[in-house]
Subunit: 224 residues, 6 copies
């Protein structure tokens, strides 16, 4: 009962300060070091917005070790993204970093969108065929083949992909302009949604018969 | 006693994360679904910034029914605004919507300011004489008469009004560029404030004698 | 020759002021009234960011007439969007408005994303089956059936669609939280890009054979 | 003819860069030093957004002399505001400064709004009765009497005023949170607009008869 | 136990609402009045982002008295800054104010940076030799000598200083474009850090031998 | 003469649109591809804010080749930064990338500040001793030793450095949260400014005699 009272009080305080922040966006502290969530409240905490007192910040809060370790790519598309978020680096803010491993001969990072970030890809190993689609001019495809030492920019909010055409594995370092780039993988969202989309809608939108839609929904089921 | 301890802890956390957000403004979740405040802590909660876990979001959180119902306009100015805020649509963010009903033959939405939003008015029924006043060039009045199917823009922060000159009631749909447009109704703020303004100040500012100011303060008393 | 000199000078000035604007984002004028581009320099000008002197602004700059006129929906998907941008309302800023007409019995506004805006849809006529897909939790589909007077919110950056299930035409008013919501129609971007995507990439990404991909690319060709 | 060509080209360039600036707001230069407009194109240039090459910046661009000189207050309300904008300090950005002189025994800075800035007033001489009106809670008046050495904050977008009740003149330093605070003086905008407002609208909004409105419109005519 | 449960719940709520605020930055309340922190959680609360219910706001929340009192300057550099933050004015937001007192004949405000704010200095008494260093063009020094009534602007993020060359004390009013300008005093950060910097690094960076570095670290020890 | 007329016209247009952009910050185009400046107007253009028509964008505009090439580190501090700006990648926006090469046994990237960006450093080769200094708590030094595969974050606006302690050369990839991180190298700004600082000021600020200041100013002269 008393607990309920205090709960109400503190959410009230939290909101008050949030709502009033519209007027002055200058950062009020040097950095935000995310603290672990002892109660498993999920995704929000993994974004690291829950900060510790700056007095308690330590070097390890700004540090990650092991980005040089190769990742397994034995999955359907043949690629694995390792994103460093505030789960890995509590002191991260303003941008984020990832490494992407691609299987030899066709490892694919399939068409997807990062709604919150522009991406810079730096290729360290392999040969990548990359592309993105512009919205204005409408649906224009821009592609390039990358070799080690090449750098490529994928603008914020546009559909893009990478394919490894080398017969050895590929490795890229990805920099994002937000601590939380976000991702929408097109095929998974369209054909692997839960619950599944109405088949008539997808059939009309994608000009496929409902049997093909049904086949695709089976294939992508459980991707989420 | 322990409750008090937890209360302090959690407001500290909430602030820490707020203060540190100055560096990276990209949204970190798809949306914010406001949750009801069980303890009536007031205005802040009606802004809906207290969000539920995205896992618990449901279609109803993004839905409102009944905007087509005509509202009563039997009041002094002869108009009624029905604003959809996060009280009505918990998942609302980034903009807001309203309908305005006007009485026949002179229903008036009196001179007011939305400090946080530009407004687009779409007229569905009636004839509206509308206007706004620019600050630069100083005090220039821009007016227009609107008929059904007409759309008009009222720029953010400028004094504006609408008057229904049709002999039937009028209906407009209002879109605002903020989830919280805010409103300052000039006559109510000046003559209906509580406590009332010093009469000498209003007399000097508005070039009226103190008796007229007194008369007006009586008329507008209790408008808040 | 002198003309070239002045051109260089003025682009330099324009940039200087742009680059320096990072420090103070408060609007410095009441509004921006777009002026027509006499030289057909294209999309940028249609965004209306080229403003006229405020002294020259007139009521018509904030006005549009004819949003009540029904639009033709005789096209493959059976829907037509009429967006009011600064081409139609030069004084528009901060948000935008559209009407969407849907054909009876299956008029579809197919899956698409507005990268820059949250959308509020107000249904005036017809019955719409609507839905959007969340990115977190991953690929969750949220759907609702709307009737006249219903309002629904589509969060910024998420894939969404509407289908008219009534046997009469449907009409919706759409409000967007940006003057430039932008749009990426998924099927057109994936299968109708120019030049077409590499078939092996789409076949692998969408789990279809290259013949089906070829079929789809023929179907969507020329959609741009 | 060629001149016309270059004009079109350069406005195109300027716009292109402006429109693309939505993604990255970090200032790209140390400061913007406004340059004078040789052609009197008005307010825009006086805002100082037209910057000179940083190489050419000099100490005088960040300097103003004479804020200590007393200003004349022999006008109807008995107060004079001296705002330092980029007309006076070309290198100004992010905030602005003013001095306000008040006549003895009733010098008034009448009810007005700064739509773009919070104000901090520092009183150096005189006795000021000050107040502002909140919008939430609606129309609440908050007042205070200030003496030399006192500081008072007027929140952004709220109606506020100051009255000198001392029998000597008063002097205040005003700091604003924007380089362009903007101002809407309520009485002038309502009763002194050009063209004048429709009397029936003001009579209904302010609960005055049209004769009084007519009288007020005559009084405030020519204030702009 | 139950207390722990509620603590988890409320931090979760607070974060949810914070994370979702990326989409709509318009202020949702008139102002934020900071409330005192009863549990001494430190710096975050002194930034005043913990707001009270607007219903409870009172004039004193926007008020400070005594900025006219002269401050002691008997310290090593011969200057004292008195900053008004939300500790002194709970209702402060969007900008801040300070007074700086300088000792006669060489009172110095040593080279420092305000990472979050542009500063406007208004000199009321004394003679100040002031300067700042640009980053582009690289390391250019811009200086000026100020007399009473002079105003000078120090752009955001640049190293700057002031020296009183008068044989009487000096007094300046400082306005900042953020409620939290922040400060990095160069000599203290470099030579007075705790723990001290590695001497070889400073010796190489500043082209001094390690004995001089050691001497300086002793001199600046305990400045923090 | 006519050329002068067009110049005035077009800078006016450019400013008008800039000033009005305060209300709506959503990007209005997919990206900005910087175009080369044919007239050498300098730094502003190297920031790439002058964009080409999106129709003319090509893959090469988003591409850079050769980041894998080792750079020479034979300079006084023993390190070389290679920053990819819009000079190298015209389509860059929202973030930037660099490689830093360090000489064996003491290659130093001396204490400096990036006023506009948080930095993520990824170490590929060598052993780096790194550190940064917080402003709150005041002048606290946080250090770490990095090995290949390690990642470290340097928060925006804080003084930081890196020293290679390996007996082979070191290589790091640097990601920045702005397309224009900016840099202020402390020792160069303080002792290498042009014109030089007044020696008495530096002597008092750094607790050194004027002979040592003179010696340092000679050493750092011509660093700009």
């Amino acid at each position: 009962m008393r607990g309920g009272y205090f709960h109400a009080t503190c959410t009230f305080f939290a909101l008050a300060s949030l709502l009033a922040s519209g007027d002055d966006f200058t950062p009020q502290v040097d950095f935000c070091v995310a603290i672990n969530n002892p109660n498993g409240n999920g995704a929000y905490f993994s974004n690291g917005e829950l900060c510790k007192n700056a007095e308690a910040a330590k070097a390890e809060d700004f540090y990650f070790s092991g980005l040089d370790a190769t990742r397994e790519t034995d999955n359907r598309v043949g690629s694995t993204i390792t994103l460093l978020s505030t789960n890995q680096i509590p002191g991260l803010d303003g941008l984020s970093l990832a490494r992407t491993d691609y299987a030899p001969n066709g490892g694919l990072n399939p068409p997807h969108i990062h709604p919150h970030a522009t991406e810079i890809l730096t290729l360290l190993r392999g040969i990548l065929h990359v592309g993105f689609i512009t919205s204005s001019p409408e649906n224009r495809l821009i592609t390039k083949t990358l070799h080690p030492g090449d750098v490529f920019v994928f603008p914020i909010g546009l559909i893009h992909y990478q394919l490894n055409t080398a017969n050895n594995s590929a490795l890229a370092i990805n920099s994002f302009s937000s601590k939380n780039p976000g991702v929408i993988t097109i095929a998974n969202a369209i054909f692997g949604s839960h619950p599944p989309h109405n088949r008539e809608i997808l059939a009309k939108a994608f000009q496929l018969n409902t049997d093909t839609i049904n086949f695709l929904q089976q294939r992508f089921k459980g991707n989420q």
